[in-house]
């Protein structure tokens, strides 16, 4: 049984320019203990989909138009605020992209790390402090007792992300949503933070949703991948399958764009055109206007994600029909 089962999630933003369909019918599930990667370019809806699950999309202008998200017997999209608060930070935690702004500059690190314990587990301050010290040590911060009393501006970017991770994991959640946890960091620090996430996942046995636009990060750490484009999932596969046998033309184009895989001196491959305007209603495949294999039929009707091999699904009509390989 999946830990989290999301069905037909649609999150739209009602702006002056029109309705932005940021997430437009997304379904996926997360098994206990797995690391699921969600990859896509900026604006593909990967962050919004996950923020929607925890009710963190600003409303207005955002609105969840449809969908269910079963987690631990509760539908996250239709539960009361009180129910949601008992899940947030306790059973599902989040780590955000920019550790420079995601920590409160006015509060000591210790107070911020201890806070989830104090509100979710009714723990005494002394016990919470002991847990916080232990957690800080586990995420690799030395001299934890002293550093608990310091403010975020005294920490470097990588250290702050370690603090964020400690804060997210201190309640031993069943699911961690890491929203571009390494994007704002130096390359060397990125590797350390990913390594830390993997170690902590193994130690705590939790599931992780890792949102990123970096295929390298996916290849290094995930079990399964979802590829998102224009608010939809266009491909879902295990990491091995995705890199060995990408199906959807968008996924293929993405893989082809990785500079390291290209010949030195050759002109870098880029996907022609620009991501679609999300305020326009889209018939058919959202990638069709940029796809070299597109046919008139690609612009007709909804194209659901369908399995092409066990555990490997794609939302390309022509691939599914065997017209292209």
């Amino acid at each position: 049984m999946p830990l989290l089962d999301v069905k037909n999630l649609k999150t739209h933003f009602h702006t002056r320019a029109g309705i932005v369909r940021a997430v437009d019918g997304v379904s996926f599930s997360v098994a206990p203990g797995e690391m699921l990667g969600i990859v896509g370019e900026s604006g593909s809806g990967k962050s919004v989909a996950n923020l929607s699950l925890l009710g963190l999309v600003p409303m207005p202008p955002g609105k969840i138009e449809s969908g269910t998200a079963q987690f631990d017997g509760v539908d996250l999209l239709h539960c009361t605020n009180a129910q949601r608060r008992t899940i947030r930070g306790k059973k599902i935690s989040m780590v955000f992209q920019d550790p420079m702004t995601a920590l409160n500059p006015y509060l000591r690190i210790g107070d911020q790390i201890m806070e989830p314990l104090l509100i979710h587990e009714n723990m005494s301050k002394a016990d919470a402090r002991a847990r916080a010290v232990a957690m800080l040590k586990r995420v690799g911060i030395h001299d934890a007792e002293r550093r608990l009393r310091e403010y975020p501006h005294r920490f470097s970017g990588g250290m702050r992300q370690r603090v964020m991770i400690a804060m997210a994991l201190i309640t031993h959640p069943q699911l961690l949503i890491a929203d571009e946890p390494t994007t704002a960091l130096d390359v060397t620090v990125q590797a350390q933070i990913l390594e830390l996430l993997k170690t902590m996942q193994a130690e705590l046995g939790m599931a992780v949703i890792l949102i990123t636009h970096d295929l390298g990060v996916i290849a290094e750490s995930c079990d399964r991948v979802l590829v998102m484009y224009a608010g939809r999932i266009v491909e879902s596969a295990t990491v091995d399958d995705l890199f060995r046998e990408p199906k959807h033309p968008y996924t293929r184009a993405l893989l082809a764009s990785i500079p390291a895989t290209q010949e030195k001196g050759a002109q870098l491959y880029t996907i022609q055109g620009a991501p679609p305007d999300l305020t326009a209603t889209m018939e058919g495949c959202p990638f069709a206007p940029r796809c070299e294999h597109a046919q008139p039929q690609c612009k007709i009707g909804p194209i659901p994600l369908a399995e092409i091999a066990p555990g490997h699904a794609t939302a390309c009509k022509r691939i599914l029909a065997g017209e292209i390989t």
Binding site: G89, S93, M94, D98, T101, Y106, H120, Y151, H153
Partner: protein
């Protein structure tokens, strides 16, 4: 921190002397003087003698030197128009009344202003934002000399719940405090809304919500410190202004405070009294700005004492 305060207090001395110098010459630039012919029927020889006794006939640089010498020793001299008391005695007599009025007004302003501003910031661009903010705008636009008589008309004359004027019984202190407080409440409400609005849009507020905190805890524990910074900056000069008295409010409600003394001194060309009142005001502003700086550094750990 102690070093920071000491250094700032030392810095007060030149500022204070510069203000004293400027005011000394500025008030003498105004036409007329404290002892002019034609107001009362005093023989010219007598006026001349009075001017002589206050040293007003001496050359200006000499007058200045003598005044500054007295000032440095803490002597503000006698009031030129109300010679029954020295300037210091007048300030000691009148200031407590103004300070009391200012204190009550500040409390009124903070309670109304902060609650209105914070409530407005929680649901921006809805009725709970528009209504308090419209009232605040009206409060800023409405001068005290309209607000005061209006409150008197309603609460003292129509309903007869409160006295019209005076400053002895506690009931008499209510209307003046509200009159003076509401203007500042309006400013505080707008500043609090702006500050809170900005902080509530920050990433760390989303982090706080993601941790499962209640909305109350998000606002009180995570947003308030940063959100109230603009209010704190405003409170320094505002508190100094409130505590030195409001001429208009003191005039409307017949309150024997420093504000009335101040304006009377300006009209009467009471040079020594005017100097005293301005310098008292200057010292208060310096002190409150220092308090604000210390408070801000205490609230925001990124601010250093430099």
């Amino acid at each position: 921190m102690i070093r920071f305060i000491l250094r700032r207090v030392l810095g007060f001395i030149p500022v204070f002397l510069i203000i004293a110098t400027l005011v000394f010459f500025l008030i003498r630039l105004a036409p007329g003087g404290p002892f002019m012919e034609g107001e009362r029927h005093v023989p010219p020889e007598v006026l001349e003698q009075i001017r002589e006794s206050y040293n007003l006939n001496a050359p200006l640089p000499q007058q200045y030197a003598m005044y500054m010498w007295d000032l440095v020793r803490g002597d503000l001299g006698p009031s030129m128009q109300q010679p029954s008391r020295t300037v210091s005695q007048w300030i000691v007599l009148r200031a407590p009344v103004s300070v009391e009025l200012g204190f009550y007004s500040l409390i009124v302003a903070l309670i109304i202003g902060l609650s209105a501003g914070i409530i407005a910031s929680l649901r921006p661009n809805t009725l709970t934002d528009y209504i308090p903010m419209s009232i605040a705008m009206a409060g800023i636009c409405m001068p005290t000399f309209v607000m005061g008589p209006l409150l008197v008309l309603i609460f003292a004359l129509k309903f007869q719940w409160l006295p019209v004027s005076g400053w002895d019984a506690p009931a008499e202190k209510i209307l003046p405090s509200i009159t003076l407080g509401t203007v500042y409440a309006a400013y505080i409400a707008r500043l609090a809304r702006g500050g809170m609005f900005e902080v509530l849009a920050q990433d760390f507020i989303r982090t706080a919500r993601a941790k499962g905190l209640s909305e109350t805890r998000v606002v009180l524990r995570h947003a308030l410190r940063g959100g109230l910074q603009p209010v704190i900056s405003f409170l320094g000069p505002a508190a100094a202004g409130l505590l030195t008295g409001s001429f208009v409010v003191e005039k409307i409600f017949i309150i024997p405070g420093l504000g009335k003394q101040f304006v009377d001194a300006a009209f009467n060309r009471d040079y020594t009294m005017l100097m005293g009142a301005v310098l008292f005001y200057a010292v208060l502003i310096l002190i409150f700005n220092l308090i604000v700086d210390v408070a801000q550094a205490w609230l925001d750990p990124r601010v250093r004492y430099d």
